[in-house]
């Protein structure tokens, strides 16, 4: 009898050990992509995520695969974004696309994603290089800011060369400008603020900075700020550089509201609203970020990362693990 009992005891002991452990969850066949944007009403971002969703829908239609895309708005709070990321991870999402509220905090996101083995695609707000290269399933999809600044400068430069009178309203041979800047912490702000000016200076155009301020990418803030500037400087302003289209549109709003005749406003983004404004003559020109390509690239990279495919086939990835979307200039014909 005791011989027979021994295996039963062993079995019981083994099962007892397993009692504490839990089981796993069955895998689903749906690919889940979680996107978190830093601000829900940023025009460029909403256009871009719309393009992402369209690419996803097209893909589903073509291949019959099931892709679930969830977009959340971090409402400019890193804490909110962190909890959204935690939630995606806990719901077993396959890949995350993160538009960091605070780009210096990306390290924490990478750590979390790495612990859960969920690939992360940062977009539009670039983390520092050390964070991007800390894990091999981290990528960044965004614009080449320098190029966009160069293109913006190009718009003004071309006009100066072809029709300087339109720019130099007071005919003093100098270009008086006002600069509307984006957020202080954004990498794009610095570059888009300095580079166009530098290029114009290097091209030999004498520049005079009348004023400048931060409108934090916001249309309404730019509008308010513009009102101040117009009240203060009036006609002395010859050209207004805006780091993005929304701010340019804000300036245009003020122009319209004040009943002024001022069109020398340049922006960067190429949002539909911006393009419409350019075509309508309210803006001088803008640099078009191919947000559709942005969204599409982001989608296909997400798909590759989620499904275990080779992400290098989906886009041109640079050495610093970033993908830069193409851009072009759009001016009124």
């Amino acid at each position: 009898m005791s011989i027979r009992r021994v295996p039963a005891l062993v079995l019981a002991a083994a099962l007892l050990c397993c009692a504490g452990c839990g089981g796993g969850e069955p895998d689903s066949i749906v690919i889940r992509i979680g996107i978190t944007v830093y601000k829900g009403d940023d025009t460029y971002l909403s256009n871009m995520t719309a393009a992402f969703q369209e690419s996803a829908d097209a893909y589903c239609r073509e291949t019959g695969a099931k892709v679930s895309v969830t977009v959340t708005d971090a409402q400019e709070s890193q804490a909110t974004q962190n909890s959204q990321i935690d939630r995606f991870i806990s719901l077993n999402y396959d890949v995350l696309c993160v538009n960091m509220v605070d780009r210096t905090d990306a390290g924490r996101v990478v750590d979390k994603a790495r612990a859960a083995d969920v690939p992360v695609l940062f977009f539009n707000r670039e983390p520092v290089r050390e964070d991007l290269t800390s894990w091999d399933k981290v990528y960044y999809v965004g614009s080449d800011t320098r190029e966009s600044a160069e293109l913006q400068a190009g718009i003004v430069l071309d006009l100066w060369r072809t029709d300087p009178a339109r720019l130099d309203r007071n005919g003093d041979g100098m270009l008086q400008y006002v600069m509307f800047e984006g957020e202080t912490r954004h990498q794009d702000t610095i570059i888009r603020t300095e580079v166009p000016i530098q290029i114009l200076k290097d091209a030999g155009i004498p520049l005079e900075r009348l004023d400048g301020g931060q409108a934090n990418w916001s249309r309404s803030q730019a509008a308010a700020l513009a009102e101040n500037y117009f009240k203060t400087y009036g006609d002395a302003i010859e050209v207004i550089f805006c780091n993005n289209d929304d701010m340019a549109l804000g300036v245009a709003d003020t122009v319209e509201r004040l009943g002024l005749d001022f069109r020398n406003i340049v922006g960067i983004d190429g949002t539909p609203q911006g393009l419409e404004a350019v075509d309508g003559g309210k803006l001088l020109g803008t640099v078009v970020m191919d947000y559709a390509a942005h969204g599409d690239t982001l989608f296909h990279m997400s798909l590759a990362l989620a499904g275990g495919g080779d992400v290098n086939n989906t886009a041109e990835i640079r050495e610093d693990r970033s993908v830069r979307i193409p851009m072009s200039v759009h001016i009124r014909k």
Partner: protein, 598 residues
């Protein structure tokens, strides 16, 4: 069954049962009681401690939230002071622009400040950071924060959460307005203005929603009047979907309270927030720690069963080691009692082994003593019987001497000499130097001499023959066994024979592996009853012939044979009335000299 008899019954079963069951029962009961008691007390203590710890932790968490909020508020107050005294107070608005300097400060605090705006006493916007426009038709003079700031100019006023709609912004945002009166300088005039700092409501809600109290606990924030500033279910409270006891909490001072709501006990932790008169309230449902889960219960069952099974097995092992040897010991003793056979079991624990050995020793001694007694008894018997046998029959002597005298008187000297010689030989062998075992040769000689004498006396009444195989002559026999038989035969049979037909034949031979000496006569014979009686030795069966016979009888012979040689030997009588008698002595074939005397 009354309580009394239950106890008695239990007691009985307990003490009278076998060692094994008693051990098992007491062992199990005590172990189970121990487990239960330990488990229960540990659990009670543990859960009480856990509850206390959890409650403490919850209080600490609420304190932490309170601290963080106070820090925010202090920062904002500092911001307000900084603006009031460093930026606004000494700036002549005519000549300088406040916007830039406000913007600097705003950038530092932009994490939790939505807007900063400065208004003069007429309600027009002086400066703002970040850049913003007032909405058309917005009159700040009607606003609470404006009025309160103007009424009590020395204080900083915190308002309740509101949707900010002052600015021409696209979105409606929740803010907590902070306002205070400031001194504006325009040229040479100074006047009152109002500084408005809109705190991001989100900063407060992020802070509070990130707190995890135990279970489904949460923290909410109320102002001095009990109105909710932040609550995780604020929207649902507004529509009445959820209820909260915030008004009660407003009345309470700092501390921990228990309240009963929705069928549950809750712990309410109230902490006042400095300066503002707000209160942070933590709500935790009690009990904090419990084994409610079915998983926990199952786990407890598993542990308990495993323990219990282990207990049983241990008990089995122990009892086997201890009680089985005792049982075997007991069984061997019982066996011994019955049959006196077998040995005592020695084994098991030291005590049991000692016991077994002691009992074994006792048993050995007892056996030895018994054997001694038996042997002594035998000795005694032998001596008695031998003594009896050795008695000289006086009648035979008288009669023979008489016969000898007659012979001498009748000048039959040769017969007399022959008779005397025979008598002498007869008595010599009777004595045999005190030995009891003699060769068959001598015994036959003894009986020959006897017969010689008796033949002279009973002239021509009978004949006799003595036949022996040479092989038997050197075997051992007890002395004086044949003669009594022959004596019986003469006195009971020959005496009644006429004309000399009587024959007594004595034969000594080996048969059936025994030494058989038989005395055959053709006399009267005996009935079976008499035969029985003879062997039994009852006096009724053997009519004492007065003056005749040695008086010792068959029984003595049989007894002696059996005593010396064992019960399987002895005397057999074959007789029928009028057919004669055959008496056979059965003895073992022991060569003379090999037999011990005693």
């Amino acid at each position: 069954m009354g309580k009394r008899s239950l106890i008695t019954w239990l007691n009985e079963r307990f003490s009278r049962g076998s060692i094994r069951s008693t051990m098992f029962a007491s062992f199990t009961v005590s172990a189970v009681v121990a487990i239960l008691l330990t488990g229960a007390t540990l659990f009670a203590r543990f859960s009480a401690q856990m509850d206390a710890t959890i409650e403490e932790e919850n209080q600490i968490l609420v304190d932490q939230v309170n601290q963080s909020l106070s820090t925010y508020l202090r920062d904002v107050i500092r911001l307000s002071d900084s603006l009031s005294y460093n930026v606004i107070k000494n700036t002549d608005m005519e000549s300088e622009r406040l916007d830039e300097r406000m913007r600097l400060l705003y950038n530092t605090y932009s994490d939790y400040v939505e807007n900063i705006a400065l208004f003069d006493s007429a309600g027009s916007l002086v400066a703002t950071a970040p850049p913003a426009r007032l909405r058309e038709g917005a009159d700040v003079r009607e606003r609470d924060w404006f009025r309160r700031a103007m009424e009590r100019t020395e204080n900083i006023h915190f308002g309740g959460p509101t949707v900010e709609n002052l600015f021409a912004d696209d979105a409606y945002r929740w803010v907590i307005p902070l306002s205070c009166a400031v001194e504006l300088t325009r040229g040479r005039e100074t006047g009152l203005g109002v500084l408005l700092i809109d705190l991001k409501y989100q900063a407060v809600s992020d802070l509070f929603s990130s707190v995890q109290l135990s279970g489904n606990g949460y923290v909410y924030l109320i102002d001095g009047a009990g109105e909710l500033i932040y609550h995780p279910a604020r929207q649902r409270i507004a529509t009445g979907l959820v209820e909260e006891t915030n008004l009660d909490a407003a009345r309470r001072s700092d501390g921990v309270y228990t309240e009963y709501r929705d069928g549950q006990l809750r712990s309410v932790i109230v902490r006042g927030v400095g300066y503002t008169g707000w209160k942070a309230v933590g709500v935790v449902s009690q009990p904090g720690f419990r084994l409610g889960d079915s998983q926990d219960i199952l786990f407890t069952v598993v542990i308990f069963c495993a323990f219990f099974a282990l207990l049983i097995l241990m008990n089995f092992y122990l009892t086997t080691k201890i009680t089985d040897p005792i049982r075997l010991l007991e069984e061997s003793v019982a066996r011994l009692e019955q049959s006196m056979e077998g040995s005592i079991y020695v084994g098991g624990t030291t005590e049991t082994r000692t016991l077994g050995q002691a009992v074994q020793k006792l048993v050995d001694q007892m056996r030895k003593l018994t054997d001694d007694i038996v042997r002594e008894h035998e000795e005694k018997q032998k001596s008695e019987l031998n003594a009896l046998q050795a008695q000289i029959n006086p009648h035979f002597l008288y009669n023979t001497l008489d016969t000898i005298v007659w012979m001498i008187e009748n000048e039959r000297e040769e017969d007399a000499a022959r008779a005397v010689t025979a008598l002498a030989r007869f008595f010599r062998i009777s004595l045999s130097k005190g030995r009891n075992i003699i060769p068959v040769r001598d015994e036959l000689e003894h009986v020959r001499n006897y017969l010689l004498i008796q033949e002279m006396r009973y002239k021509n009444k009978f004949r006799y023959e003595i036949l022996s195989e040479p092989a038997v002559e050197e075997l051992s026999t007890i002395k004086l066994v044949v003669q009594p038989i022959v004596e019986n035969a003469i006195y009971h049979s020959m005496d009644f024979m006429d004309g000399g037909d009587g024959l007594i034949r004595i034969t000594a031979r080996l048969a059936e592996g025994e030494l058989q000496i038989s005395v055959e006569d053709n006399g009267l014979g005996m009935t079976p009853q008499v035969v029985e009686g003879l062997l039994a030795g009852s006096p009724a069966a053997e009519p004492r012939v007065p003056g005749r016979g040695s008086g010792i009888g068959l029984k003595n012979v049989q007894d002696r044979i059996r005593l010396y040689f064992g019960a399987q030997y002895g005397v057999t009588i074959d007789s029928e009335p009028d057919a004669g008698t055959l008496v056979t002595l059965h003895m073992p074939t022991v060569p003379f000299g090999e037999m011990e005397e005693s």
